[in-house]
């Protein structure tokens, strides 16, 4: 049955390689997970991934692979993206399979039961990856009680609560009836792409909904340490984070430039002081994230357990100095040149160009951020960079997550300046 929805079609053509990427993007993600059933967007996406009605899950996999295609369904916080990559010669049958998957997913009980077991096993496997463990704990603590703090994968308990009927309802409510965007990039012309999409997704027009409301995020006052206790760690994963920016913040670009100058390049003070001067960590960077509401800003390093707290103290000192005094004019200028000159790598393949256009349509990224990127970066003054940093980055309100063997680091972290609380959690705790 064809639904009365017309997708928006975006095309980026390039005949350099006989490949085509297809992306179907929905404005629904884990933010729509009901409380207590976190993980449902991802589980529903994976259940769709098992194929359409009329063909077994194994048969579907065989068919895709025989065509030289790969298919992924990725449910993130704000979007679900179905991506297929295929050899050009097999595009039409692959597109047909993808369309069937969207219009008539099988959503079988047997597949659902297997997927739930797989999702539980994946959560367990995540415990092997210390860097991911640290990142998950940082978001949980930074956004405690807010949808941004939820993991798209859910928790063991929330997955147990999800039933097949929940996934079917989620599909019916958010994926079956909502409009979506179809993007195609690679060895296909604009007219060919549009004609193929019309053939597989014929329907009258319907406008995509506006953005979904998300409550504001709130900062937790003070510096709080969370030690994720894991045995036999010789080295630690260290995250120091606070709230970052909103996509529509007026001072977003000044903050991007300032953060790049501080911890976004190899030559910034964070990397230089931690790695080049002291050799304390293989990597050291800071990341600024932005979303509908204020997302995260954080620093990451991976120092040896023996000097992990010293490294944290150094990072806090650098952070205080950055926010208080800003950075020299030359550093700001350097970051601007870096951002402008390296921007060509955000669009050197058709799939990257397509992704930016989808972000504009789907996530409400202002078009000028993409089309006037270089100008927006170049216009930032050192004063604006400094003011934006001061306005947005609060060095007194931090979540400090360290994945380590607790007995090796707990006391030293408690002595870090301004720390209000230290909590030790076992690494296996959800």
């Amino acid at each position: 049955m064809r639904k009365s929805i017309k997708p928006k079609i975006l095309v980026e053509s390039s005949d350099v390689l006989p490949l085509v990427d297809v992306e179907i993007a929905f404005r629904v993600g884990s933010l729509q997970d009901p409380i207590g059933k976190e993980g449902i967007a991802q589980l529903t996406g994976q259940l769709m991934r098992r194929g359409p009605s009329g063909i077994s899950a194994d048969g579907f996999e065989e068919r895709l692979a025989n065509l030289g295609a790969r298919l992924t369904v990725d449910a993130a916080m704000r979007s679900t993206r179905i991506r297929a990559t295929t050899l050009r010669r097999n595009l039409e049958p692959v597109l047909e399979l993808v369309a069937d998957l969207i219009w008539q997913p099988a959503l079988r009980a047997r597949d659902f039961a297997k997927l739930k077991r797989h999702a539980q096993a994946s959560l367990l496997a995540r415990l092997d990856d210390d860097q991911t463990l640290g990142a998950v704990h940082l978001r949980q603590r930074l956004f405690a009680g807010h949808p941004y703090g939820r993991s798209s994968s859910g928790s063991s308990a929330s997955l147990r609560r999800i039933r097949l009927q929940d996934a079917k309802r989620f599909y019916a409510r958010y994926l079956q009836k909502e409009p979506f965007i179809v993007g195609m990039s690679g060895d296909i012309s604009d007219s060919e792409a549009k004609s193929l999409v019309r053939a597989h997704f014929p329907a009258p027009p319907r406008k995509m909904n506006g953005k979904r409301d998300v409550p504001a995020t709130h900062i937790r006052r003070g510096r709080h340490v969370i030690v994720v206790d894991k045995p036999e760690r010789t080295q630690t994963q260290l995250y120091i984070g606070t709230l970052g920016a909103r996509t529509h913040d007026r001072n977003l670009f000044p903050l991007i430039v300032s953060n790049t100058a501080f911890g976004g390049t190899f030559t910034g003070p964070l990397m230089q002081e931690v790695r080049a001067v002291r050799g304390w960590s293989y990597g050291a960077y800071s990341r600024l994230m932005h979303s509908d509401q204020r997302d995260a800003w954080y620093m990451w390093t991976a120092p040896s357990a023996e000097y992990s707290a010293d490294c944290a103290a150094l990072q806090l000192e650098l952070l205080d100095r950055w926010v208080d005094k800003g950075l020299p004019q030359a550093s700001v200028k350097f970051a601007q040149q870096y951002l402008i000159n390296s921007h060509c790598f955000d669009r050197d393949t058709p799939s990257k160009r397509l992704e930016s256009r989808i972000d504009i349509e789907l996530l409400g990224v202002p078009r000028r951020y993409v089309e006037r990127h270089d100008e927006l970066v170049a216009d930032v003054t050192p004063k604006q960079a400094k003011e934006a940093t001061k306005a947005r980055i609060s060095p007194g309100d931090l979540v400090i997550v360290v994945v380590a063997t607790a007995k090796d680091v707990e006391d030293a972290f408690a002595k870090l300046p301004g720390v209000k609380s230290v909590e030790v959690v076992p690494y296996r705790q959800p």
Binding site: S14, V16, L17, P18, L19, D58, E61, E62, A65, N66, L67, G68, R70, T85, T86, L87, N90, K114, R117, H118, A121, S122, L124, A125, L127, D128, D130, K230, P231, E232, R233, T234, Q235, T265, F266, T267, Q272, A276, R278, G279, W280, S281, Y282, A302, S304, F334, Q337, Y338, I340, N341, S342, H343, C344, F345, R347, D348, T349, P426, Y427, R428
Partner: protein, 448 residues
């Protein structure tokens, strides 16, 4: 593009220094639309040019024929440490200047080291090529090695080792697997080096290594992307033509690994919630004529959700969360590695028994024609994906140039996969995937 012979005639006009005179080696088709041209300077530097104007970027790779196999016991990890040291000061440029200039130009810069090679690359906007050539030529011969830099980079590498090996289950298992499978060949030690060796390097070790291996006659430069070939070669001639070749490197005694007659098993405990197994069958070298058939077998067994072992262990029996297979792409025979991450409470021996059964079935019956076509389509897809960017193309060319002495052959390799028959797959599996010729690292979880 004009004729390469007339191009080098023009470039050599008035050039008297032997090291700076170009010779044209050959030209090869590279896929459907591109042409790869190979040139050589008098000092032995090989330059491979691949003009592709699909994006306003260039990728500049410098591959050195030195990796961890060229080290010796007690000095393991030197090739990898060197990869770090190469970003330090030179006689002409102060500490950190290399990174500053590259980043200001918008270049993405990095390097990699493995058993047989080390390479450095810059992915940069096309207008940065002259700068890249200047800085790369400079650090090939003018690197300054002093105690503070060596000390600091040793600490960084020690931290990298903790990150990638000591606190990483898969990294640790891989190190143990190669140490178990190889008893004579240098592939037995890890590229990052043993911790004791990393701690023990001296400035003199580094200087000696640099003098021996970092020279134009031990390197290949690959330029891919949107650039003017004449201008690029002219700049390279100006910058690299001043360098002298090093003495030819003594390859040392050839360490042939004795035939393995019995399975070797190592058991380790680690803080992990589920058991894991890493298996390594003795595999042929990358250039061996059997390798394409074995690569197709790998795709049939492990390549994606419909692959035999994945379907059996992960989907049907639900014993494992993930399985992967890969053949080490080495100059000498390496390993066919299989990684199995089990689900909670599942037994390693059950997974291994099913794996063995499936391998025996493939050796006895071979794949169907349809299955073979599927595997080859998937390999083609991966291959084409790897060629999407200038950096991807340069990496492929550099790898083939260094490992099989011909950077123009990636597409030949793809054709070799296409020619693989079911019988060849059967034979390759029967010959190489025998339990008596494998080593196994079994990891069991310890209580938190």
């Amino acid at each position: 593009m004009g004729s390469p012979t007339s191009l080098i005639e023009r470039l050599n006009r008035g050039v008297t220094r032997r090291n700076a005179r170009w010779s044209f080696v050959n030209a090869q088709r590279f896929g459907v639309a591109l042409e790869l041209r190979r040139f050589r300077l008098g000092n032995g530097l090989t330059v491979v040019s691949l003009v592709d104007r699909s994006a306003p970027t260039i990728s500049y790779h410098t591959w050195f024929r030195v990796g961890s196999r060229h080290e010796r016991p007690g000095k393991t990890g030197l090739a990898h440490l060197f990869e770090h040291l190469m970003f330090n000061e030179t006689k002409r440029r102060g500490r950190g200047e290399f990174d500053r200039l590259m980043e200001r130009a918008g270049a993405e810069v990095n390097a990699a080291t493995w058993t047989d090679w080390t390479y450095y690359y810059e992915n940069a906007p096309k207008n940065a090529l002259a700068l890249v050539i200047e800085l790369e030529a400079d650090r090939m011969s003018n690197l300054v090695l002093r105690a503070p830099q060596v000390r600091s980079e040793k600490e960084v590498v020690a931290n990298e080792r903790k990150l990638r090996v000591e606190d990483d289950i898969e990294g640790r298992a891989l190190e143990e697997l190669y140490a178990t499978a190889f008893r004579r060949h240098p592939y037995r030690w890890p590229t990052i080096g043993w911790m004791k060796d990393i701690r023990g390097f001296t400035v003199e070790d580094c200087r000696r290594f640099y003098r021996t291996h970092y020279a134009p006659n031990n390197a290949t430069v690959i330029i891919a992307g949107d650039f003017d070939e004449r201008q690029a070669l002219s700049k390279i001639q100006e910058r690299y033509g001043r360098l002298s070749p090093a003495r030819p490197i003594d390859p040392g005694p050839h360490s042939k690994e004795p035939l393995q007659r019995r399975e070797r098993v190592l058991r380790i405990a680690a803080p992990t919630p589920t058991d894991k197994v890493l298996i390594g069958y003795r595999a042929p070298s990358f250039a061996n004529p059997h390798t394409p058939a074995l690569s197709v077998a790998n795709e049939l067994l492990f390549g994606g959700r419909s692959a035999r072992v994945h379907r059996l262990l992960c989907l049907d029996e639900e014993l494992a969360l993930s399985v992967r297979g890969a053949i080490s792409p080495f100059v000498d025979p390496g390993l066919f590695e299989i990684w199995i991450s089990l689900r909670e409470g599942k037994r390693r021996r059950d997974a291994i028994a099913l794996l063995d059964k499936e391998v025996r079935r493939l050796a006895a019956e071979g794949p169907t024609d349809l299955e073979l076509e599927k595997a080859i389509n998937q390999i083609e897809l991966s291959f084409l994906h790897s060629m999407e960017t200038a950096g991807g193309k340069a990496e492929q060319v550099g790898f083939y140039e260094t490992v099989v002495d011909d950077g123009g052959t990636p597409f030949d390799r793809l054709n070799a996969y296409r020619r693989v028959t079911p019988t060849q797959v059967k034979r390759a599996v029967a010959k190489y995937l025998r339990p008596s010729r494998r080593s196994r690292v079994e990891i069991s979880g310890i209580a938190a």
